[in-house]
Amino acid sequence: MSPRVKPEPVQVVKERRDAALKALVHGVPYIQFLGIEFDRRGDELTAILPFDDKLIGNPLLPAIHGGVTAAFLEVAAIIELSWSLVWDEMESGRLDPRKLDPDHLPRLPKTIDFTVDYLRTGLPRDAYARARVNRSGRRYASVHVEAWQDNRSRLFAQGTGHFLMPERDAAPNG
């Protein structure tokens, strides 16, 4: 047994984790274009898509564009997977989130395929999504994601994606 180490101050832990998440999310222009944000509780992420007129696909209903829904789910899945990869690097101290910026992001997984089921019309309100990494191998990963609006138990869309994992070389920030 190693000698007991004094726990880090909570503020230091929070700042480190929030900085890493911010770097992952804010470094991607398309995520900013759609206005997607992430809420973090420990390592659990919730993707949030605040409603905006430019997200409308059917002006008569009005309803969120199916392509926006697909993009939202894919973003939620890929950030969840990236976050799970960054988490261990960060908590072990191998990666310093303060050195992350759009030019020094960790290598991200690449989407191989993505399937979206449209369960209900996307209403003109904020949408939320949570993803679960069901399998994370050395080369491939499978991620499932669920999205809802007013009620957590009434999903308006769900999706499954397969991803090619980034090659594990030296951390980009040394």
Partner: protein, 145 residues
């Protein structure tokens, strides 16, 4: 499809707020086949290190194109919504290139339409992505059970 109908369809699709936000243009529409393209735009980038467009933007293009293909099917379709859509990403689209999707509604039942689609950048030989989807199909009122 004659020019007048194509123009009306083009105005319809280009009036969809999100399609307009992505700069989509209807290039062709006839008998269950739609061709829609969108410009390269730095705001749609998914990987800032390479400048490659985000898969989600390609999904949005494929979904719009699939829906348009269903609407143009020559059996009197008055409405459609995506049931599911699967996209396979073959390779990254070349940064700077326009992306063009071609969707074909290859089979319809009374209430479901089946669609396949392909997306290209300037290289028309090697697809960037392919998609298959099922869409709901609403027809003008005719003896529904």
């Amino acid at each position: 499809m004659d020019d007048r109908k194509l123009k009306a369809a083009r105005q319809f699709i280009e009036a969809i707020p999100h399609s307009r936000a992505l700069g989509m243009v209807l290039d062709r529409l006839e008998d269950g086949v739609a061709v829609i393209s969108m410009p390269y735009d730095a705001r749609f980038v998914g990987d800032p290190q390479t400048g490659v467009i985000h898969g989600g933007a390609v999904s949005a293009l494929m979904d719009t194109c699939g829906g348009a293909a269903v609407m143009s099917h020559p059996t009197g379709v008055i409405g459609t919504a995506t049931i599911d859509l699967r996209i396979d990403y073959m390779r990254p689209a070349k940064p700077g290139d326009r992306i063009t999707a071609r969707a074909e509604c290859y089979h319809v039942t009374r209430s479901v339409a089946f669609v396949r689609a392909t997306a290209h950048d300037a290289d028309g030989e090697r697809p960037v992505a392919t998609a298959t989807g099922a869409f709901t199909l609403e027809r003008a009122a005719e003896g529904r059970p």
